[in-house]
């Protein structure tokens, strides 16, 4: 059953000498949500003086070693390493760093050379990509010309457009390629004009590209030569990396343990900024799920410091009088758990809220199935959901899985399989069922009325949740007089009965009916605020002038009335999508009939299209119904998530 974990406000106190051990124990437990004690208890925003974390430097070195060698560090058992030996660990890491520095520097230099070669190859490729056939010249000969200065490089598009300005000058630009807004090519100038040409090129921000001396022969030769050089360097890089990996790999076990120890010390030290330390004592505050209280106390019992310097843990329930905002941890059933992501999206339950996940999960699945009912497509959704949720570990996949099943159930009721509305008819006939009440195209009116009926039921459930929660919280205004309270519910139901009752054989009306069940609830909603104050024992008070009160509450009541109408009619879309789904699939089938031999292809593409488009639309529309029509009646959100402190071994310090 869905609920919200009850949180206990917790204070942990002890001697400053065992602070690090205490924080480490707390982090390891993964049960405690820590708050800033300095800010909370002293009212100051200034945190404890921030000391430099002594574990950052050795961790950075470890991170570098890991990055260069490609050896990924992982969490390992480090319980046997005493805290006092972190200095020795740091020295050990320094030593390893020094011993690998020669290989690291060789790797860096090979990487730089590789980058340079690749860059030259890219530039030369511009020449080859231009008109390589006409470039059957030898680079060596070109640069050896005695009377002509040759430059290779690139102009920006802007500078290139300025070249006509220099048409009377004696240099020429031979363009061989364009890339990323740059024009690549050779500049040829007579030796006598070389200086002036270089000045002009400088004004035009000509970026000269130096072709290395070892590039010889024609363009094809040069490209081949460069590719060979790159291959040789890549091999050399792999060799050096293998050497490094072997060197570091030898110590992998130790490094993992060092990393785990240092990371735990580092993350624990970071928590100090939230601890209040005064007179040699420390105080840590935060929240603990009530169900974990016993387990949490246990963690200190086995601690080495417990006998010499015991730590006191005190807990208490959070009351309304406390100026505290406990974090929220939802407890959900297996079916509704994936839907937590939608609740997160809206905002976790705030003070006085219920956990809406189960109601959301059931109503979402139900509405989706109704709107996207198709046995075949639902099955595809189920498979997609299983793949995304269990193989790819995407949370939405597990929701899709549930929606797929719902879609299959409703598809069976509609008799729809991949858009074929008659495919299941023989099955039903063999069972003796000759008429399907929800056969969509045949029963448009039934579908639309049913959709509104479902909406009314869901709205009433939302109101009921609001009333129950209001009563539980002793918030009489919310439970009795609000538009989603008892008054609102009586008004809504009575109005619906008055309007629709005669058509379904329930006569409702008459003066007494209108006065008691329509006018009176409306009046109570109008007087919602002063009546709430009266219930709180503060007397029947109206804030501001009577005129303002009447005007503002009149418009508020008017908005309520509109809200009842729009909220209810909003559910017509449920029926609308049932029809649009059937409609779109009938178009696909019509197209397939026109396609002749390509008919199966059209059916497959049509189904994929409808599933993609409509699946997305229905998903969004149902979420909209949840957030706007239902959440607005019983849920506020705005709670903060329960985030227990822990040591993050996946995060490297770089």
């Amino acid at each position: 059953m869905a609920s919200i974990e009850r949180m206990l406000y917790t204070e942990i106190q002890g001697s400053e000498s065992v602070l690090d051990e205490t924080l480490y124990a707390i982090s390891r437990s993964g049960l405690f949500h820590m708050e800033d004690a300095t800010a909370r208890l002293t009212g100051s925003n200034r945190r404890q003086e921030r000391l430099e974390n002594p574990y950052t430097r050795p961790l950075k070195q470890l991170s570098e070693i890991s990055a260069v060698s490609g050896v990924k560090l992982a969490q390992a058992d480090c319980a046997d390493i005493p805290d006092s030996s972190t200095g020795a660990i740091s020295e050990e890491i320094e030593r390893l760093n020094a011993s690998t520095s020669e290989i690291a520097s060789a790797i860096r230099s090979v990487e730089e050379e590789l980058e340079r070669l690749r860059s030259v190859l890219e530039q030369i490729s511009h020449i080859a990509g231009g008109s390589a056939d006409s470039l059957d010249f030898d680079f060596e000969q070109l640069f050896a010309c005695k009377n002509i200065k040759t430059r290779y490089g690139r102009f920006t598009a802007e500078s290139y457009e300025k070249l006509p300005y220099y048409a009377d000058k004696s240099f020429i630009f031979t363009e061989y390629g364009k890339d990323n807004g740059y024009y690549y090519g050779f500049i040829f100038a007579p030796l006598s004009e070389a200086e002036e040409t270089d000045e002009i090129l400088s004004d035009l921000y000509f970026e000269r590209i130096h072709i290395p001396e070892y590039v010889r022969g024609n363009v094809s030769d040069a490209v081949a030569h460069l590719k060979d050089a790159i291959a040789a360097e890549e091999k050399s890089l792999n060799d050096e990396r293998a050497k490094m990996a072997a060197c570091v790999g030898e110590h992998k076990g130790d490094l993992d343990r060092y990393f785990s120890k240092l990371k735990s010390m580092h993350d624990t030290f970071e928590l100090r900024s939230k601890v209040l330390i005064t007179g040699g004592r420390f105080k840590v505050i935060g929240f603990l799920p009530a169900s974990d209280e016993k387990a949490f106390r246990e963690i200190f019992k086995g601690a080495a410091f417990e006998e010499s310097e015991p730590v006191s843990v005190s807990t208490r329930r959070v009351t309304d009088k406390d100026d505290l905002e406990p974090p929220v941890k939802l407890r959900n059933g297996k079916f509704s758990e994936p839907f937590t992501m939608f609740v997160d999206l809206y905002g976790l339950p705030g003070r006085g809220d219920v956990n809406p996940t189960t109601f959301l999960a059931i109503s979402y699945t139900l509405l989706f199935g109704i709107m996207f009912g198709d046995l075949g497509q639902g099955f595809v959704l189920l498979l997609a959901g299983i793949f995304l949720g269990h193989v790819k570990k995407i949370k939405l996949g597990r929701i899709i899985e549930r929606l797929g099943v719902s879609s299959m159930i409703f598809g069976t009721l509609y008799g729809s399989v991949f858009g074929f509305e008659e495919l299941l008819d023989p099955v039903y006939e063999s069972l003796g069922i000759t008429f399907l009440p929800f056969k969509t195209i045949a029963n448009i009116t039934t579908v639309l009325y049913t959709a509104i009926g479902i909406g009314v039921v869901l709205i009433l459930i939302a109101m009921l949740i609001n009333i129950i929660k209001g009563l539980a919280e002793k918030d009489w205004g919310r439970a009795l007089f609000s538009n989603s309270g008892l008054a609102g519910m009586v008004f809504f139901v009575s109005l619906l009965l008055m309007l629709l009752g005669p058509s379904i054989g329930i006569p409702a009306g008459g003066t007494a009916y209108v006065l008691l069940l329509i006018i009176l609830p409306l009046l109570l909603m109008f007087l919602h605020e002063p009546l709430s104050e009266l219930c709180r024992g503060k007397g029947f008070r109206i804030e501001g002038s009577v005129g303002d009160f009447i005007a503002s509450n009149f418009f508020e009541c008017f908005e309520y009335l509109l809200g009842y109408a729009t909220n209810t009619l909003s559910f017509v879309r449920v029926g609308g999508f049932v029809l649009s789904h059937a409609g779109m699939m009938s178009v696909v089938l019509a197209l397939s009939r026109m396609a002749g031999n390509a008919s199966p292809v059209v059916i497959v593409i049509g189904n994929i299209f409808v599933m993609g488009l409509e699946g997305l639309l229905v998903g969004i529309q149902v979420l909209r119904l949840q957030f706007y029509e239902l959440f607005s009646r019983y849920y506020t959100g705005g709670g903060k998530p329960f985030v227990p402190v822990s040591i993050n071994y996946d995060e490297m310090i770089s």
Binding site: T156, E158, E161, G181, Y182, D203, Y205, E207
Partner: protein, 356 residues
């Protein structure tokens, strides 16, 4: 009809606001300022800001300050064309005001070169605008005399405006007079081009305010740096185009009489006293700019007023014009920071160069 659509091109307005959302924030400028060289700054702009596309092909190591500046300025024009072409607004005269401004700026630049005898206009020439300007910009960069200038622009509307400024006996061209004539005409045409839009009041008010601000800044410079008298200054001010005041639909922040009093102030102190008593002075105080050097404070106020106008604008032309002004300021800020980095100015000093 076309103009009406152009006045309410909602998609363009939404696009502009989306682009504005990617503007550089103070933290971007802080990162830029902390760069140790032009290459690093260019790399930052390329990797982490909306200038990624215009700087796509650059090589951070080798880039020259001037080249980076030129690419950034081009980015301004590219953005302008991107927005204008989004809903095909290019053929509505108002939306080509940047081309008109480029023409005016380049003619004035050319005259500066003729007068100084140093001919390097090509270096900063926005040659990519050549497709849009009514005369050949490359030909303009080759101009060496007034006659050559007239040959290039003579057949355009600028020919008629410039011919009365022909220098006598090979003397210098009267630059201030030409500038006044060209800028007056530019603003006059700009304001008139807004009349076709059904809801132009906001933009017209902003443009008139812009003229006021330009005049006040220039008047202050003339007063402080050249000790000019009231008449002399007034003659060099851009006249605010006439409008039918009987309709009383435009808000005017300062009267011509008050401006004249400011121009006629005997010294800097009197000028500042009159300025601080005006609406603009009160705005400067409200914005907390009174401790800044006056020119800088006026420029900052102009920028903040533009930002305000952009936020309040509800017609496409107003959003378009104010956005372009904001983008221009942003690019100028970046260029100032890059210059500061190039000349190794202290970080604190570079920070003061940013108009915000």
């Amino acid at each position: 009809m076309k103009e009406q659509r152009a006045g309410r091109a909602n998609a363009t307005m939404a696009k502009i606001r989306a682009i504005y959302g990617k503007r550089l924030r103070p933290e971007d400028f802080a990162q830029l300022i902390s760069c140790t060289g032009v290459g690093e700054a260019a790399q930052y702009l390329k990797d982490s800001t909306h200038y990624a596309k215009p700087l796509e092909g650059i090589s951070g190591e080798n880039i020259h300050r001037g080249q980076l500046e030129s690419l950034l300025r081009r980015a301004y024009y590219e953005r302008y064309f991107e927005i204008v072409s989004f809903e095909g607004l290019g053929d509505v005269p108002f939306y080509s005001y940047i081309t008109r401004k480029t023409e005016v700026d380049q003619i004035l630049e050319c005259i500066t070169h003729i007068n100084s005898g140093v001919f390097d206009q090509i270096v900063t020439l926005p040659v990519y605008m050549n497709r849009h300007t009514r005369f050949d910009l490359v030909a303009l960069a080759k101009v060496r005399s007034f006659d050559e200038l007239m040959q290039v622009v003579g057949k355009t509307r600028y020919g008629d405006m410039l011919k009365r400024f022909r220098p006598r006996d090979g003397g210098r061209i009267d630059y201030p007079a030409v500038e006044l004539a060209l800028r007056t005409d530019y603003f006059d045409k700009l304001i008139h081009s807004t009349y076709v839009f059904p809801d132009n009041v906001q933009l017209e008010e902003f443009l008139r305010e812009r003229i006021d601000m330009i005049n006040i800044i220039n008047a202050y410079r003339m007063k402080v740096h050249f000790s000019m008298g009231g008449e002399e200054i007034r003659a060099r001010m851009i006249p605010v185009p006439e409008y039918d005041s009987s309709t009383d639909r435009l808000i005017q922040h300062i009267t011509q009489r008050k401006l004249d009093e400011m121009y006629a102030a005997p010294d800097r102190e009197s000028f500042l006293r009159l300025l601080s008593a005006s609406w603009y002075g009160r705005e400067m105080e409200r914005e907390g700019l009174t401790q800044m050097p006056t020119e800088r404070a006026l420029e900052t106020l102009q920028h903040r007023r533009t930002r305000h106008a952009f936020a309040m604008a509800n017609s496409t032309p107003a959003v378009f014009f104010t956005f372009n002004s904001l983008l221009e300021t942003e690019i100028n800020n970046v260029i100032r920071v890059i210059e500061g980095i190039r000349y190794s100015l202290p970080v604190e000093e570079i920070s003061t160069l940013i108009i915000d």
